[in-house]
């Protein structure tokens, strides 16, 4: 089976140690995590992990099964890139004088649809959200002028299909009574 990019989304309780438990599932199978993001979700007190990994669909299914098995995980999904809307964010820190010395920099900022977050005497910071390829392209364009610092976030994604976590929680809740 052919390897692909999969986005694994995990809805879980917000407890100490769960990140270790989930990353351990990848570790045990010698599978690399390309990016990982943990944040709050659309539901109060429910966390959402967004994990990107390059594996076969068979493995994606098995890993999601193992993740879902964890006591504090409410539900886990895997999606291909086509099934999600996804973005990453990046910050570029660049020397301020370049803004005036290099006309091309202004064009890059305009064309890349990035924002200037802050400008100080020594440096300015550009923020860019988008697909990995767009961020990579911007990086390539800026690199010749010198990038003082660069950082890119993990992928965040929402699925095109409904996830129905609220309904699931309702079901769990009704089990309790």
């Amino acid at each position: 089976m052919e390897k692909k990019w999969f986005t694994i989304s995990v809805y879980s309780e917000n407890n100490v140690g769960l990140l270790n438990r989930i990353s351990g599932i990848f570790l045990k199978r010698h599978i690399n995590i390309e990016s990982l993001n943990v944040s709050k979700s659309e539901i109060n007190n429910v966390s959402k992990f967004t994990i990107v990994t390059y594996i076969t669909e068979d493995w994606a299914r098995r890993i999601v099964g193992q993740i879902e098995k964890q006591i504090e995980v409410i539900k886990a999904f895997y999606h291909t890139d086509e099934e999600t809307i996804y973005q990453e964010s990046a910050l570029f820190k660049i020397a301020s004088h370049l803004l005036f010395d290099e006309r091309q920099i202004q064009n890059i900022i305009k064309e890349s649809n990035s924002q200037i977050v802050t400008v100080s005497r020594d440096f300015f910071v550009l923020a860019k959200s988008g697909k990995r390829s767009e961020i990579d392209e911007m990086y390539q364009q800026l690199q010749p002028y010198g990038i003082m610092q660069f950082v890119r976030s993990g992928r965040i994604a929402v699925s095109k299909a409904e996830m129905q976590i609220s309904a699931l929680l309702q079901e769990f809740h009704s089990l309790k009574q």
């Binding site: 309780e13 140690g17 270790n20 351990g24 299914r61 098995r62 193992q66 504090e72 995980v73 309790k176």
Partner: protein
């Protein structure tokens, strides 16, 4: 209406008591019906031990000689009773010594609650004396774990721990309790846990799938059941028996499924897997319908997956959705509890006999008998064989004993030959293959089944891996029967070296001490047998002893266990010699 409502809340209101965290832990254990725990004290768990001293009339603590022994004893107790086993240890090395037992319980789905002491909250992360990150260490091998750092968390977490350990597919839970949480006081009130948001222990069974399963079973010409421990854990033994009897289906078992169906049942065709019986393995690739019940297609069962039951439709009755299509792609998965599923399935099943199909198993058995079994049970050579020892024990126990095995050749031989007529009677380390398991597990098994004979069968290697537990047997006067089948080798590894490494016996020859003298040092009645003519009397003497008894049987040094599916080979290519 109003008054009714008020009454309801009134009865729900319980008075709280102000007690220490350590005492609360004892109260939790008692509320969960625990009356026996295994453990080893140390600095970070001392407040709990102090309470154990005060509550010793209600809660018995068995002091093992090593925390690993405590973990295996708790497992033995859990496996024989179906209840949650409890092991307790201090922080640091005490906690890490439990880990192999926890890993064993995880892979063999044994309900276990392990309690570990931890350094005080303010010392966490300071590399304090006997501090270790047991939560981090135990995460991959626990069903759930939690670190309690405040006394007020104790009741809820303990209730959750027991609920998670025993529900659904059971497993080990570790609760780490910082020392300050043991000393602090709390307003104690205990509610047993009945549900955890985000945790669904038993998946819903789709009744349509049951109908499809019934259709497949009813129309099959060569249906074949392979059952595992799910039948025992789900207490579905009667339902399994009813199904195979009604539909006339030959049934084989995995090593952990052994004892769920009487060994002498006419439809019990034996063991599957690497050292299983000939027919059950070969005919896996000839059945037209494979019905897997509460088993997980372990690689030791399936051999090469590319050639495993490809001709058959496969139905998988399973409680854990993550097991479905994990190793073997199945045609139909019936999720849910084995007992409920089989009960609902039974009325849909048509009576059948499948005599000619069953005869195929009989023919294959005859081949195995002629080439393997006959020479093992009725040897013409001078040295004793492992199977004849098991056969002798069978003669006395008549299948009624609890048999505990360690890991290796003696384990495979015992599972092949021991007779059982009662469920929850075969206690062995299946998935993890943990040497050193049997002696402590037998202690727990005996304490969980005091009215029954418990016979531990162990190799000379595994016996020495937790030999210190003879001290526990001596101190508690635990009347277990211990049989060491001594071949002076790490026999299974030696067998592989002989077959696959041109007899280069790297580190498999054991120079052993005088086991009888060691047992005598612990004041355990002991005997050594080397000659065939003494075996019967020795087994008789052991089995009629009211106290613990140690029997060493010196067996042939270089016997091999057959049949055997070489690692990575197909079940069809099982070797008889």
């Amino acid at each position: 209406m109003e008054t009714l409502k008020e009454k309801k809340t009134e009865t729900k209101k319980q008075a709280t008591v102000r007690i220490s965290g350590a005492e609360a832990i004892i109260h939790c254990l008692l509320a969960e019906g625990v009356d026996l725990i295994y453990g080893y004290p140390g600095g970070a768990i001392m407040p709990v031990y102090d309470e154990l001293y005060k509550y010793q009339d209600k809660l018995t603590h068995i002091l093992s000689r090593h925390e690993q022994g405590a973990a295996y004893a708790a497992q033995g107790y859990a496996r024989v009773t179906g209840k949650v086993g409890v092991a307790i240890a201090t922080s640091g090395p005490g906690a890490t010594n439990l880990v192999t037992g926890i890993a064993d319980a995880q892979i063999d789905s044994t309900p276990l609650v392990c309690l570990t002491g931890q350094v005080a909250r303010h010392l966490l992360g300071s590399d304090a004396f006997q501090e270790t990150d047991i939560i981090g260490i135990s995460t991959p091998v626990t069903k759930w774990n939690y670190q309690i750092t405040k006394a007020s968390e104790i009741p809820e977490i303990m209730a959750k721990a027991f609920y998670i350990a025993r529900s659904g597919r059971p497993g080990p839970v570790l609760v780490d309790i910082t020392k300050n949480a043991q000393i602090e006081e709390l307003d104690f009130i205990y509610d047993r846990c009945t549900a955890v948001r985000s945790y669904k222990p038993v998946p819903k069974t789709d009744s349509r799938n049951l109908e499809i399963a019934a259709e497949l079973i009813n129309s099959a010409k060569k249906p074949y059941v392979i059952f595992g421990q799910g039948v025992i854990l789900g207490e579905a033994e009667k339902q399994l028996k009813a199904l195979i009897e009604k539909a006339g289906i030959p049934a084989a078992w995995t090593i952990l499924g052994l004892s769920a169906l009487d060994t002498d049942h006419p439809l019990n065709v034996g063991m599957v897997g690497m050292h299983g019986n000939y027919g059950p393995n070969v005919l896996t690739n000839e059945c037209d319908l494979l019905i897997a019940i509460g088993m997980r297609f372990d690689d030791r069962v399936t051999g090469n997956l590319d050639t495993y039951a490809k001709q058959a439709k496969i139905i998988h009755f399973e409680i854990d959705p993550a097991e479905v299509n994990k190793n073997v792609k199945v045609d139909l998965a019936v999720l849910g509890d084995a007992k409920a599923s089989l009960e609902a399935l039974l009325p849909l099943i048509k009576e059948n006999k499948h005599e000619s199909w069953h005869n195929e198993f009989k023919e294959k058995y005859k081949i195995e008998f002629d080439t393997v079994i006959k020479a093992e049970l009725y040897p013409t050579k001078e040295q004793l064989t492992m199977p004849e020892v098991i056969n002798e024990i069978n003669r006395v126990t008549m299948g009624s004993a609890v048999i505990v095995t360690d890991v290796g050749q003696h384990q495979m031989v015992t599972c092949r030959y021991a007779k059982f007529n009662r469920s929850k009677s075969n206690i062995t380390s299946g998935g993890l293959g943990t040497m050193g398991f049997a002696l402590p597990a037998a202690i727990g098994a005996k304490m969980g089944a005091m009215g029954r004979e418990v016979v531990a069968i162990i190799g000379d290697g595994g016996f020495q891996m937790n030999i210190q537990e003879l001290g526990t047997i001596f101190q508690n006067k635990t009347p277990v029967k211990i049989v060491v089948l001594n071949n002076g080798h790490l026999g299974m590894v030696r067998q592989w070296q002989e077959l696959f490494f041109e007899s280069r016996y790297a580190a498999t020859v054991m120079v052993n001490p005088d086991f009888v003298k060691i047992c005598e040092g612990y004041h355990i009645k002991s005997r050594r047998v080397k000659e065939r003519q003494d075996l019967k009397a020795a087994v008789q003497e052991m089995m009629s002893s009211k106290d613990a008894y140690f029997l060493e049987v010196v067996v042939e040094k270089e016997d091999n266990v057959f049949p055997m599916i070489p690692s990575g080979a197909s079940v069809s290519d099982i070797r008889l010699k």
